[in-house]
Amino acid sequence: MTGQTDRLIRRGFVLTGIGLAGLAAMYVMALQFTPTEARQGLAQKIFYVHAPAAWSALLAFGLVGVASAAYLWLRDPRLDRFAESSAEVGIAFSLIMLTTGPLWARPIWGTWWQWEPRLTLTLLLFFLFLGYRGLRASLTDPSERARFAAVVGVLALFLVPFVHLSVYLFRTIHPQPIVLKPSAPSLPWGMLRTLLVSIGVFTVLYLGLVTVRYGLATRDDEEARHV
């Protein structure tokens, strides 16, 4: 059992390593082999970190919600460990998204911060999942911790459309979707290619980090059982 967990953690590290190597390659690709945006200049390059980090963060939080709902149904501790791991990795990715966003916004929008739906949503999820972590950390009974955390995970999933819609109705100046929209993507192929690569890289990083974190959580549970 323990050997299996160690192998899982090692596999997670390998996957994370591949992700980091991919990240380095993606930087080179974005800076050297991708056309520079005509009006935004170099500032636009941060897009290749910002957008995929946002993707990974939302993927992470979305999967927490799905795993939480599944946990309440099946009561499988693996789902709880996965939710815990994915939440933490999501916090890390949303922090990347929240720091790269203002860095880009300052020269382009002329302001560090703007109350815009996607930004607000990520910020609120970031705060909410810090609370989720706080709740987990302050509960000692494993079954209680798993059930309570799962309830927060499901509630968070349902909060997403409400926050997005309400802030959208408030007003928005965020660049509109340029890839995932009903008509064909309007991003030039050179840029789209880099974006797709970076999304792939960030997904691998997500998988690697979650695998490591999941392995560590498994090990904690095993140790708790032996004591």
Binding site: G131, S138, R147, L159, S166
Partner: protein
């Protein structure tokens, strides 16, 4: 069904009776709401921001703070002398337990709001223009939804040693949509805009209520199993 309703009434009734007998929490929360209004008035430069411009935000932030404080005690009172164990041992379904606690919380918060709205009108010199009842109605509509979430969250945070810190952190994100929408609707009503302009916001609040009351009903039993 009647058995279920009787259980709900018994639980809500005991909470409200306990509240009315001591009145400490009710008076303290209402006073707190009044003080938040006072602080808001002085936390602005009267030359730059007029009372009227700030009024809708003041009302909604006060409602948010006061209800978070109020919800904190919903399950805190059950923790003393392990009263919750007694409730769980009673032959009452978990969902009836939730509905009872929820209704008591709605009544509690609704009462605090009933005092807050006139105080707000008094302190901020707001011209209601005959919309007083509508504004209170919108506040109540928003309350129905976020108190459902808050009741579930407070049942969880009370089991930790940092309940009074964790509840606001977990609760605030859920307060954002109803407060944003409520403040927009209030601004329009106070600005004398036609009702047709706020009907969309009201519908948003109703959907929020529907979704989160349903979720709370479904999720609450999972908090109470042993």
């Amino acid at each position: 069904m009647t058995e279920y309703l009787r259980a709900v009434a018994a639980i809500a009734g005991k909470d409200l009776r306990a509240e009315l007998r001591s009145r400490t929490a009710l008076v303290a929360t209402t006073t707190f709401a009044g003080l938040v209004l006072v602080i808001f008035n002085f936390a602005r430069d009267p030359g730059l921001v007029s009372k009227e411009a700030l009024a809708p935000s003041v009302l909604w932030v006060t409602v948010a703070f006061a209800s978070t404080i109020a919800l904190n005690r919903s399950f805190a009172v059950e923790r003393e002398q392990n009263a919750l164990d007694g409730l769980l041992l009673a032959p009452v379904s978990r969902s009836a337990l939730f509905v009872g606690k929820y209704l008591a919380n709605v009544a509690f918060v609704g009462f605090v709001e009933l005092v807050t709205v006139p105080l707000f009108v008094l302190f901020f010199g707001v011209e209601l223009g005959g919309h007083g009842a509508t504004i209170y109605g919108i506040v109540l509509l928003a309350t129905l939804g976020f108190v459902a979430v808050g009741t579930v969250l407070s049942a969880m945070t009370v089991r930790t040693r940092v309940a009074d810190l964790l509840l606001p952190v977990l609760m605030m994100p859920f307060l954002v949509p109803p407060i944003l929408v409520g403040a927009q609707a209030t601004t329009r009503l106070l600005g004398g805009r036609p009702m047709a302009e706020i009907i969309g916001w009201v519908r948003f609040l109703a959907i929020y209520d529907l979704v989160f009351i349903t979720l709370a009903l479904m999720l609450f039993p999972a908090l109470m199993d042993e």
